[in-house]
């Protein structure tokens, strides 16, 4: 499989890698994207706050600030094209004292001096109208109407699907081990599935970008900074109407509360450095910390409404000269290597801007490559994805679902009872080019298994549907890749001991 020669090799299938792949698929280039996990959106892009920041507190002196401000207005079109739910619900930074108020005014003025963003200070009365359940002592807020919420993994998946439709080859379960270069030029990569040739490598490997960069002689370190979350049942999604931030601290925007586009309520994240890049454990301490943070903003937060907890890791480069900013640049040596590293928050909000910037960088270096390329827009490019029917979108006009059902009766069989996902919806996903083979991948695309019972009921059923569709055994279906099989054996294949009822008692005597 390693004979194919590409113009561009992208490492990493997060929101950044896939945004770049999609943007570059406008041009007549041959592009491959490599993701080590079983699905795209398996790294930081699956576990974050999902907020498209308005850009008020990112300074224009930083790359991340500029890219955030530039990208925010681009999301309406992207969401429209890719059929990803996106909602500009606005954000509120909430203050509790006169001192807070002064800080917020200062913040507003500082931001406005840098960019043209819609920002307003609102007082207690208006604040309560917007957020009736907010803590009593909240008296003022900085309101940014253009902030929005999006599903970060749905966006990532849609970008990947759209890129694939436009000719990008996506290799899953393919880990890039090494980048090859000869006489100062990029020549290709080595993966666990063989070698691939190409004269540009775009390093969007998230937490592991430093590892990839090290193979071409770069020397910087990515430090993982953890954030933990609680997700609440849909019942509580309407407790909050905006993205609610506390007063920010030096390091982070603080523990926020927001509705999600799926109608749940999300609380988190905290922020602390961890040692390992695979440390996604939720800790007791962390959960307590975010709980306390949430209670300060919303005293009526329901403790028994939590349906899931999870953690994500920010890929930060604290050291000089990056100082926690993004590191986006083409190397002089070797030519053809482009870093997209240190993409911490607001990386999601900046992804479209990053993709445009990379296109410009690719254009800049195109003539200097080992095999020079030329960016030419292709007429066949289609920015849009088809919208697949979802029962959940037909809440207010169920009668129209009948038509969907009449075309395929599988749309009448509910598989996930908590989230109301039908067999038809599952099979439509399984038929796509980037077909999800794991329960987690199915969950991210359809929400099946992501509801109150967390897949207890529909898990085996979904495994069977996957197995049927791909003609494999249900025992081979995994939660998120090899090693995470959900069913171990068929009953009766292993046997109880003959003396099961008296052996242990005898041991005791």
């Amino acid at each position: 499989m390693s004979d194919k020669i590409y113009d561009i090799l992208i490492v990493g299938g997060g929101v950044v890698g896939t945004a770049i792949a999609r943007e570059l698929s406008k041009y007549n280039l041959s592009i491959a994207l490599f993701e080590k996990e079983t699905d795209v959106a398996s790294g930081t892009s699956k576990a974050n706050s999902g907020i498209i920041h308005a850009g008020y507190n990112a300074s224009k002196n930083t790359l991340k600030g500029r890219l955030n401000i530039k990208s925010n207005p681009m999301f309406d079109q992207i969401a429209d094209d890719l059929k990803v739910p996106f909602n500009r619900i606005g954000s509120l930074v909430v203050g509790h004292s006169q001192e807070d108020k002064e800080k917020l005014i200062l913040e507003k003025e500082r931001s406005l001096a840098q960019a043209d963003i819609d920002l307003r200070i609102i007082e207690k009365k208006e604040l309560r109208e917007k957020e009736p359940d907010l803590a009593e002592d909240a008296i003022v807020a900085l309101y940014a109407p253009n902030a929005g919420i999006i599903s970060p993994y749905k966006l990532t998946i849609a970008q990947a699907e759209n890129a694939a439709n436009n000719g990008v080859d996506i290799y899953l379960e393919t880990e890039v081990k090494k980048v090859f270069h000869e006489n100062n030029y990029i020549t290709g990569i080595k993966t666990n599935k063989g070698k691939f040739s190409g004269s540009i490598v775009i390093n969007a490997a998230g937490l592991y970008a430093d590892k990839i960069a090290a193979t071409v002689g770069e020397n910087y370190e990515i430090v993982p900074r953890k954030g933990e979350y609680n997700l609440f049942d849909k019942k509580y999604g309407s407790l909050v109407n905006h993205v609610i931030f506390p007063m920010p601290s030096e390091k982070s925007k603080g523990i926020l509360i927001t509705p999600t586009v799926d109608g749940n309520l999300l609380l988190g994240p905290n922020s602390y450095v961890v040692e390992n890049k695979d440390d996604l454990e939720v800790t007791e301490q962390g959960l307590n910390e975010i709980w306390d943070g949430g209670k300060k903003l919303y005293p009526s937060l329901p403790g028994n409404g939590i349906i899931s907890s999870f953690a994500g890791l920010r890929a930060t480069i604290p050291a000089e000269p990056y100082n926690d900013d993004f590191k986006i640049e083409a190397l002089d040596n070797p030519v053809g290597f482009i870093d997209v590293a240190g993409i911490q928050s607001p990386g999601l909000s900046s992804a479209p801007g990053i993709a445009e910037l990379i296109t410009k960088i690719v254009d800049d270096i195109s003539k200097d490559l080992k095999v020079p390329i030329k960016l030419q827009e292709k007429s066949s490019y289609n920015p849009e994805l088809d919208k697949l029917p979802r029962l959940d979108d037909y809440k207010d006009h169920r009668e129209d679902w009948h038509q969907v059902y009449q075309e395929d009766n599988d749309y009448g069989e509910i598989v996930c009872r908590c989230e109301h996902v039908t067999k038809g919806e599952l099979i439509a996903e399984l038929k796509k080019s980037l077909a999800p083979l794991t329960l987690d991948a199915i969950k991210r695309r359809t929400r099946a298994g992501g509801g109150r019972c967390q897949g207890g009921f529909c898990g085996p059923r979904i495994a069977e549907i996957i197995a049927e569709e791909f003609e494999i055994s249900p025992l081979e279906v995994t939660k998120n890749g090899p090693g995470s099989e959900i069913l171990m054996e068929r009953v009766k294949d292993i046997k109880a001991d003959r003396d099961i009822t008296y052996r242990r008692q005898k041991d005791e005597n």
Partner: protein
């Protein structure tokens, strides 16, 4: 796509089945029973162990046998059953939206509705166990379904958290099928399961039960590799020095059931925060006239026999609602509240009219186990009736039968209390 029905029953478990039969017996001719699974019987079909029916049939049956008695009885009656059909919406006008692969979307306008959707289990998330998120963490009921119905073993080395009956039964079931059950851990100082289940499910197989211990963390990236266990003190605080790690590939959770009331909420029916089920009067009628609730959707029962009895009350009441053209005037309405040492009481209200039966049965749970104690029914400070009990446990629903004539015409609330030895 749109039809009208006299009575629609949501859920074909033991509650739905008994309610349908009782409504039919009391003269309702147009009944539709809707079940989302491909068979009737609900949770009972996965409870293949014996121990059901001792009260109701005076016979010890397995879950499927208990269910089949009702299913058989139903089969020659004029009761319509729609399987593989899910009720997806209900509104406060008793309009139901249902979906099935046979008929697609249908709208059903019902004159009366009985809610019998049962309950679901609390998950890892609901009790917030820290750690990683690998495959191999599941609820005991899900595992029960895997093993007994779908035919898969969920794991080989098992730790079970929670010593209620479901946890105990699953320990035996897994051991019988060849898995190694490392132990059952219980945060409380007592097991809420029946003694007989502890003897027959754990002791018989040499499976240890650890009280006042809990799982504090889950390890493993892809699959569960181990769990941390710690002892807890009387206030449920973990004692860090007692922490130990147990290797296993599966963690089963048996940590409580929650009534399945998403539909009730859609219909704007008021719920009791403690039971998680609708607020009902003695005929199991919710605050929407003509909508009734019974079985685990109303309160989590430990014995299916009680479910059947409760469902019969609701089925009969639905029949009265439908057939009584001239509604009896309610003479008195009062609330029944849990008092000292009582968690909740069902029914929540009494609506007394000319037809009310002279004895009202009150169901409730106590907060802590007690022996040689007394249940006292009070109107203000005045005791209306009292009932002695040799032993009460939070794990078992208690009941008393209160004669209506004892109730003061002018009172608006009566209270149920548990009085223990020293008082």
């Amino acid at each position: 796509m749109k039809t009208k029905r006299e009575l629609v029953i949501v859920g074909g478990g033991p509650a739905g089945l008994a309610a349908a039969l009782e409504a039919h017996k009391n003269g309702v001719e147009d009944i539709l029973l809707i079940e989302r699974d491909e068979y009737l019987g609900g949770i009972l079909q996965q409870c293949i162990h014996n121990g059901f029916g001792l009260d109701y049939f005076n016979e010890e049956l397995t879950g499927p046998e208990y269910a089949e008695r009702f299913i058989d009885e139903l089969s020659d009656k004029k009761i319509d059953v729609q399987l593989k059909t899910m009720v997806i919406d209900i509104n406060d006008q008793k309009m139901l939206t249902v979906l099935s692969s046979k008929k697609g979307i249908e709208f059903i306008e019902a004159k009366s509705v009985i809610l019998a959707m049962g309950c679901r289990e609390r998950t890892r998330e609901a009790i917030r166990i820290p750690g990683t998120r690998p495959a191999g963490v599941m609820t005991a009921g899900a595992a029960q379904r895997y093993i007994n119905i779908e035919g898969y073993l969920p794991g080989r080395e098992i730790v079970i958290l929670g010593s209620g009956d479901i946890g105990l039964i699953m320990a035996r079931r897994l051991a019988l099928e060849g898995a190694d059950v490392k132990g059952v851990f219980e945060i409380m100082s007592y097991s809420s399961g029946l003694v007989r289940n502890k003897v027959q499910c754990l002791d018989d197989f040499g499976i240890p039960l650890y009280l006042q211990q809990t799982v504090t963390k889950i390890h493993g990236q892809k699959r569960v590799e181990a769990v941390d266990i710690a002892e807890v003190d009387d206030n449920f605080n973990q004692i860090p020095e007692t922490k130990k790690t147990i290797e296993c590939d599966t963690l089963l959770l048996s940590v409580g059931l929650i009534p399945e009331n998403e539909l009730s909420q859609q219909a704007n029916i008021s719920l009791d925060d403690i039971t998680g089920g609708p607020i009902v009067d003695q005929s199991r009628e919710t605050d929407i006239p003509g909508v009734f609730a019974c079985g685990n959707v109303l309160q989590v029962h430990d014995l299916v026999d009680n479910v059947s009895e409760e469902a019969e009350i609701a089925g009969k009441a639905a029949a009265e609602f439908l057939l009584n053209e001239t509604k009896d005037e309610i003479k008195q309405s009062l609330e029944i509240a849990p008092g000292k040492n009582i968690t909740y009481v069902v029914p929540h209200t009494l609506n007394i009219n000319a037809n009310t039966s002279p004895l009202i049965e009150l169901f409730f749970r106590v907060k802590d186990p007690a022996e040689d104690c007394k249940i006292s029914i009070k109107d203000n400070q005045e005791e209306l009736a009292s009932y002695t009990r040799p032993i009460v446990e939070p794990g078992e629903i208690e009941s008393v039968k209160l004669p209506i004539k004892l109730i003061n015409i002018s009172s608006d609330e009566i209270i149920v209390e548990l009085i223990t030895g020293g008082e």
